[in-house]
Amino acid sequence: MDLERLLDLVRTGDELAWEAFVRQFQGRVYGLAYHYAGQAEDARDLAQEVFIRIYQNLSQVPGAEGVLPWMLRITRNACIDHLRRRRARPPLWDLPVEELFHLKAGGLSPEEQQLEAARKGAVHRALRELTELNREVILLKEIQGLSFEEIASMLEVPLGTVKSRSHRARLELAEKLVALGGCP
């Protein structure tokens, strides 16, 4: 599907185009929200809030190249606001990560699904152990695949800092993974 054409239709308020847009990007938005919030339910609410915010500002939707970074920036801002509010009231419990990742592991045998979920769960737990900045760099660079320039702009830190942080963050994540015994 031509994304540029889809976005043109979305800006005009076409319901079918909006539905296709939601279905195309909901996984990315929800994924980022989940990694920030750490709770499936909070992530669901945040992702909905992001899409509603986008819907209320359809005229501001950028072109095909910039739409994903734009959405991820909105998602990040919503998550940061959410985390600020939540600091006063910590979450009651977390959904086990394996339970969440089972949802996406389609097309695999039950054993393979279990193994895949365990691998993802181990990496996710190691991710939670990182410092805040390192975790954000991993989330945005390694998971969401944004460029160094986009991340530097989003986090409002120098480009060189993001680059050097990226290597250090991966190394720290690997060390945490080894320490947690999650590395095969």
Binding site: L103, K104, K120, L171, L173, A174, L177, P184
Partner: protein, 286 residues
């Protein structure tokens, strides 16, 4: 031949560059000297911690340098020589090998975490929330117990449920206390007078609340006064002044509330009696 002499000719001995007589002398020395013999045996085992000991006394461990290059190695950004050096270190360092293995693992797993399926009803909820036509509803999906169960579990997991429960509990408590037959319902003073006027129950309760609030405020003011008299310091003077101000304001407020309340009572009684509201009521003659 002694050991010192043998060490000087060791290289020539190994390369077969010695004169025959000199070579015989060297072999005679080797036959009686185990230390020099160990130097020329081609398959002499290398002590396992030899390199480690040498590194410890020279550059130190190479693990720090490997950490600097590990990510680039996994990404394939190193040239052939650097990559071979890293691989050489990994063969002998299980800790670094585990680290590089973990880096490879996260390089594989992390991109797959970008997309997380939010579940089957997520899109439907968003479309419902962003629909411009309130009457329009997305196509109803067939009922399933699993869907219903998911919704209930999600509802129970919401921390907000605690606030909602507290709200419902407060409301239920208020209704219980305010029930006309309750022992906690208002009684004395203004309330009795209103009962004689046969006004409706909500007004009676409102009157009781005003009276209880007034009594509570008076008690607090008396307490402030008492403490202020005991203190006698600047602070207590300030407290006394403050309490006097509060008392004046309270009196003014209670007068205002009283007059308003009298008007409401007069109006209600007039309506109950079916009289013209413009005519003075019975309490206005008090």
């Amino acid at each position: 031949m002694n050991c010192e002499t043998f060490l000087r000719i060791l290289a020539d001995y190994q390369e077969n560059a010695l004169a025959p007589e000199r070579r015989r002398e060297a072999e005679a020395h080797l036959a009686i000297c185990e230390g020099c013999r160990s130097l020329v045996q081609p398959d002499a085992p290398i002590p396992p911690d030899l390199a480690k000991g040498i590194l410890a006394r020279t550059t130190g461990s190479a693990c720090r340098r490997l950490k600097e290059q590990a990510a680039a190695h996994v990404d394939g950004e190193l040239d052939g020589l650097q990559s071979a050096l890293v691989e050489g270190h990994l063969e002998h360092c299980p800790q670094c090998a585990a680290l590089v293995s973990a880096l490879r693992e996260i390089s594989t797993v992390l991109p797959s975490l970008a997309m997380v399926d939010p579940g089957p009803i997520f899109t439907r909820d968003i479309l419902a929330a962003t629909s411009r036509n309130p009457a329009w509803q997305p196509a109803a999906e067939p009922f399933s117990w699993q869907d219903l169960g998911e919704r209930l579990v999600r509802l129970l997991r919401r921390p907000r449920i605690a606030f909602e429960a507290a709200y419902v509990g407060t409301l239920a408590g208020f209704l219980f206390v305010s029930y006309p037959g309750s022992q906690i319902s208002p009684g004395p003073g203004e309330t009795r007078r209103l009962e004689s006027l046969r006004l409706s129950a909500p007004m009676i309760r409102a009157a009781g609340m005003v009276e209880r609030t007034a009594e509570s405020a008076r008690e607090q003011l008396r307490e402030i006064h008492r403490r202020a008299r005991q203190g006698g310091t600047g602070f207590s003077k300030a407290c006394r002044h403050r309490s006097e101000v509060l008392e004046r304001r309270w009196k003014s407020l209670s007068r205002e509330l009283g007059s308003r309340f009298q008007r409401v009572v007069a109006k209600a009684q007039t309506q109950d009696d079916g009289q013209d509201p413009s005519e003075p009521g019975p309490d206005s003659r008090d």
